[in-house]
Amino acid sequence: MNRIDAVSKDYRSLNKMIRESEDDVAVDGALGQRFIAAGLEKNKIEITGTPGNALGAYLNGAEITVIGNAQDAVGDTMNEGKIIIHGNIGDAAGYAMRGGKIFVKGNAGYRAGIHMKEYKEKKPVMVIGGSCGSFLGEYQAGGVIIALGLGDEERDIVSNFPCMGMHGGKMFLRSECKNIVFPHNVVTSKADADDMAEIEEYISEFCEYFGFNKAEILNSYFTKIVPDSKNPYKQMYVAN
């Protein structure tokens, strides 16, 4: 494993070192450097400190672990690979991600999982341990978003306007969602046994990384949200 001291390095030189490393990389003392591991295909990258925006953008197979928090746009347009954050993340995580997995121990900001997609064998998964800001899963077109609301059971698991424009994929919230207002274009229900079987492997992996009790989590009430149409705007137009 290559150790890279990120202190006093700008993002361009830091990223070049990460890109050119043959082996796995440990980055110490990250402090806001952006685009870490952008487009990277291989190796494990373990980061201590706080990486900057667009961590793992266009990620293509590499595995990133952050011991700490991450900022905005984690896993932007990610295609494959894994991002594991032992802390909280900022806004717009997993924007348009098409494959791979993002695991977050803590909370997510606004617009997590926006325009997440899926295609054939590519099915992105995002698991948020805590709660999420507004517009969770906006325009969601595929993949699975799971929020667990761990840590503060009193707090709403998601803020305003979740699932706006959702037209594909699934969302699971570990809550009865009594205070949450969903838009008319989605259908909500209590996750049944099949649903729970589907998400079990993701919850297991989450618990493996962050040391939570899997049985306890799985034994909770989960709300499942799916879109009612993959063509939400079909009726809006008339040819002129």
């Binding site: 595929g142 594909g168 137009y237």
Partner: protein
């Protein structure tokens, strides 16, 4: 019928003396206008289905068919024009948003047609491009502030990545999905042969076309369709689409019915699912955010490719261009309000944005005033219709032009403006395999090469007439232009004098 009835816009006129009943028209019309009546042994036509694409007219072996505009009109009214009334009917019938295709057809001023080009007489001899060398090559990308030399006085290459164009024209973005496989292939082949570039639009890049990567600009738009590491690195440049001239401020929406087969595969989304490009990039709320996307793309392509930011020409375009130049983009593409589209809400297309001529002049001026013109190249489109439009654009300050509608016309488009139906009889704006094969990519690309070769000759002739032998000398050379029938304000914005001055 009854209250919902709208009289057909066109009439199919068939000369029965010439018609030999060969039924070519019937076979060629995807709109099913023509049907053979076995009893009467005649072909009958349903005007209501006709979009005036001229396919049957062009293929009728005896020239028996013509399409004319119907003279059955609403009562004349200068305020409530026939189209205006019919649009009300369409909306009252359906409750739908009006959807149109191709560029703004309204009679707004076309400034290209109010600008005249200079020529040399007596004091500065014109140049004959047939005998003397003329340079039409341009390089797009950031130019350094100064020349640097090493201790031996040798030049240090401090140039950012550049796009090299043999001709100051490129084919602008049209996605695979909005146009067909064969149309894309025609564009790719022609770009390669001409030494220019075509643009994927935001539908991804079909794997068959990776071989044309050196002549391809790959686009990243708000939907991020088909965007992945290989795609970004496949092209010669990456274009971030912030906006489009035909529909500034709104996103795109390719209906699920068009997401089939290879289109689904190339966009990397399931068949039948709508491809929705949101109006904004949800991670861009400022120039700083744009800078983040620009640099994330540069990181992903290891700083080897120029990044283009494409915006629609809107009211504050000069300030926007200044911001884009400071975001780290290498090239700014500005799309005027007459730019084409596969589908856009009519009201947006016809009422939002500004003419490219004014936007270009304002941006070039602003970037010069701020001393940052060298930091970006300017590419303009929407709509460039001819070699003289190109020359005028360069003289107003553009580095190169984007053309799309002209390229579509070269491939057989007859501007019937019904791309949104997906039934393009010319095999361009359709995914129906039977229709797609009507466009032969070899012929399509040859026609594109012909068109651009002709424009190249015309550009050289116009330049030669001005006594200019290099396109670099023409750029921003507004002294070569004069306005006609323009107000003081228009002349001021264009930065040109009136004819006679």
């Amino acid at each position: 019928m009854g209250i919902e009835f709208i009289y057909p816009e066109f009439e199919v006129v068939r000369n029965q003396n010439r018609c030999i009943g060969c039924r070519v028209c019937e076979r060629q019309c995807a709109n099913e206008v023509h049907t053979y009546d076995a009893d009467g042994k005649v072909i009958i036509s349903d005007d209501a289905k006709c979009v005036n694409c001229q396919r049957c007219v062009s293929l009728c072996p005896t020239r028996a068919i013509k399409i004319v505009k119907s003279d059955c009109r609403m009562r004349e009214n200068a305020n409530w024009a026939d189209d205006t009334i019919k649009e009300i009917y369409k909306q009252a019938n359906s409750g739908g948003v009006l959807l149109s295709s191709m560029g703004n057809p309204k009679p707004f001023p076309v400034y290209w047609d109010k600008i005249l080009i200079n020529a040399s007489q007596v004091t500065n001899p014109p140049i004959d491009p047939l005998r003397e060398p003329m340079e039409t090559k341009v390089f797009l990308g950031k130019k350094p502030d100064s020349i640097e030399r090493d201790e031996n006085g040798k030049l240090i290459n401090n140039l950012s990545p550049q796009l090299k164009l043999e001709l100051p024209v490129m084919f602008s973005a049209m996605s695979y999905g909005s146009i067909s496989y064969n149309a894309h292939k025609s564009l790719a082949l022609a770009a390669q042969q001409l030494g220019i570039y075509y643009n994927t639009g935001e539908g991804g890049l079909h794997e068959d076309f990776y071989v044309y990567g050196e002549n391809t600009i790959v686009q990243v738009a708000s939907g991020r369709f088909g965007v992945h590491d290989d795609y970004l690195n496949a092209g010669a440049a990456v274009e971030i689409k912030m906006g489009q001239g035909a529909k500034p401020g709104i996103g795109g929406h390719l209906p699920g019915t068009k997401i089939v087969g290879d289109v689904s595969h190339t966009r990397m989304i399931p068949e039948g699912s709508d491809a929705i490009s949101p109006a904004p990039h949800h991670d861009i709320y400022s120039i700083e955010d744009l800078r983040q996307l620009v640099y994330s793309l540069k990181e992903a392509t290891q700083y080897k490719k120029p990044v283009i930011v494409k915006v629609a020409a809107v009211h504050n375009i000069a300030a926007i261009a200044s911001g884009i130049a400071r975001s780290g983009a290498d090239i700014i593409a500005i799309d005027g309000f007459r730019g084409g589209t596969g589908a856009a809400p009519t009201r947006i297309r016809d009422n939002v944005g500004i003419p490219i001529e004014l936007a270009l002049a304002a941006c070039d001026q602003r970037l010069r005033e701020e001393g940052i013109r060298n930091q970006v190249s300017l590419v303009v489109g929407g709509s460039i219709r001819s070699a003289s439009d190109v020359v005028k654009a360069i003289a107003l300050g553009a580095d190169a032009c984007y053309v799309a509608t002209a390229a579509l016309l070269a491939m057989g488009c007859h501007l019937c403006r019904t791309c949104q139906t997906g039934k393009c009889n010319w095999g361009i704006a359709t995914q129906n395999p039977e229709l797609v094969k009507r466009l032969n990519p070899e012929i399509g690309s040859q026609r594109l090469v012909n068109l651009m070769t002709a424009w190249g000759h015309e550009i050289k002739e116009l330049m030669g007439g001005m006594g200019i032998n290099s396109i670099e000398t023409l750029r921003g050379n507004r002294l070569m232009l004069r306005g006609i029938n323009l107000t003081e304000k228009e002349l001021e914005i264009l930065g040109i004098s009136h004819a006679g001055e």
